[in-house]
Symmetry: C2
Subunit: 331 residues, 2 copies
């Protein structure tokens, strides 16, 4: 079933059928109707591959993320997909994990499928080792690359990210001004955004000559029980506030507080990050920094669409975060 079958059925040439399919002008109403009828009768569906081969665009965007089951990333993917759809694009999803040579293979795969652009979701795509990002720069020679929540300079590379530095800096400053002195920072990642958060924490404390107190959590967010046990074991001197780079760590911190008998929020303030569903599942519910996934994704797509339409001017967009106060703080 192809355009020839339709053309025969309608008694016109394939060029005319193509014109009707693409809503080109210069087709008489009568002919158009004949063609549309034939399409209907034959239940003809155009072959997007052949079309893509001709016009050299599949109207498809590649999306790479480390792990699509992560709550934050899943949300991002959802918003990206919806937003792309509005512009007539759909997406090929790749869960790449964290190894850069594997990521490079996925990138090649996407390019071979002639995607119009590639979106890298999550700040873990920004690596310490610059050599591990070479594949990104290479890909950018062929199609626009968009980083969601990462920052990377380069020709044809675009970034949309939350202002994690400011968010943590402001939060800590506020807590200090309310009289809290011993602020603890708990983190599980040295990704780009992880470092931004940490820097915000450190700078805020430095402003008040306070000593930083940081704890690296060597488990992933699914292991709330393990994280809790780890905190119980590591934290002997109780802080006045625990700033966590993930809601899951904040939940574990809350369990730690319960375990050691600290009253939250009176004796201990706890702040999570992402303002995800799990922030609303504990008791008291988590105060959490909302890093505005949807806004970040929307502006990523907006930037990308500008580029694809040739109006590319900006190449970075920073979205402010928002502190959602709930029961684990009181200030």
């Amino acid at each position: 079933m192809n355009i020839y079958d339709v053309s025969k059925r309608a008694g016109v040439s394939i060029a005319t059928v193509s014109r009707v399919i693409n809503n080109s002008e210069g087709v008489s109403e009568k002919t158009r109707k004949k063609v549309l009828d034939a399409i209907e009768e034959l239940e003809y569906i155009p072959n997007a591959l052949a079309r893509g081969l001709g016009i050299n665009s599949m109207k498809t965007i590649g999306i790479m993320c480390a792990n699509a089951s992560d709550i934050y990333l899943a949300n991002a993917i959802y918003h990206l997909e919806s937003s792309l759809r509005k512009f007539g694009y759909d997406c090929i999803l790749c869960c790449t994990g964290y190894e850069s040579d594997i990521r490079e293979k996925y990138m090649t795969l996407l390019l071979s499928k002639q995607v119009d652009a590639v979106i890298l979701v999550g700040s873990n795509y920004v690596e310490e080792d610059v050599a591990k990002q070479e594949y990104i720069h290479n890909a950018a020679k062929k199609v626009p690359i968009v980083l969601v929540n990462g920052q990377l300079e380069g020709e044809n590379i675009y970034c949309s990210l939350a202002d994690d530095y400011q968010a943590v800096f402001q939060l800590c400053t506020q807590l200090i001004q309310k009289g809290k002195k011993n602020l603890m920072f708990l983190y599980d990642s040295n990704s780009f955004s992880g470092k931004q958060k940490r820097q915000g924490y450190e700078d805020a404390l430095k402003n008040y000559n306070l000593k930083p107190n940081q704890l690296f959590i060597p488990f992933d967010e699914d292991n709330i029980q393990k994280i809790k046990d780890f905190i119980v074991q590591e934290v002997r001197e109780y802080p006045e506030a625990m700033i966590c780079c993930e809601d899951a760590i904040a939940v574990a911190s809350l369990k730690f507080a319960t375990k050691v008998g600290l009253d939250v929020p009176n004796q201990l303030h706890i702040v999570g990050y992402n303002n995800s569903l799990i922030a609303k599942c504990c008791e008291p519910e988590l105060t959490s920094i909302d890093n505005k996934v949807q806004e970040v994704c929307d502006s990523a797509i907006k930037m990308l669409m500008n580029v694809l339409e040739g109006n590319g001017n900006e190449n970075i967009k920073v979205v402010p975060c928002f502190l959602k106060q709930r029961g684990t703080t009181d200030f």
Copy 2:
């Protein structure tokens, strides 16, 4: 940059280049090396579109789900993608929402992109109104259709699902045998799996001549606070156990218990569904029915691969669930 450029560079014909790319035999080592070198130097990436057009397969599977940000669906998508990847397929993701005419459009879109099969994730693709499923049967005439957690009879339609009926039936039977009489069932969906769960509940109670006590929750799982308020308002006579069709509803039930002063698990047992991350976030942690997403997804892909390779024999696979006991029950 195409196969002709490579052939010129290597001083061979395009047929030979094609053979090298596809690892076909009958190419001398010397020639093969020449070609590989040329590919390397030119940084040539084959065009999968052109290839797909010729052999009529893009090695791509379409995945449709209502909402990729839902924890359960996000997990399923993650496992499906990983599993497909192992077989050399990648996937186009479509978040379709719940309206069947929009879903039909997505299906057409996927077919136009020449996907090799379509996977429908989530039991909401099985509709009350059979007419709303016609587009699935039509699509099945062209490519295999796989339902994940849904059941639908039809030519070229395959199903992999969790045994939700048995899971709830067994759980309720067990609770009754432990002396619980007033079991309450809370649900928010009349999807296929929703009905299976409900039927399991009703049948278990019927076996012991107990009167069912069901509450429909008219909010989605993000609104834990609203769900809790609704439960507080609706439930006057306190049950001995609350069986919930979603972990989020179970979390809300736990908050309800706290609010009205019921001790969990001594006065009230609570059981969630999905055994998701949020089950571990509350205190006490949720007992939850694990519906084995990964197994369900893996067997879906296994079935599909058999079909695509022409060994299609089975067309349905039912995976047993597993009760993960935690702090909200004690039996």
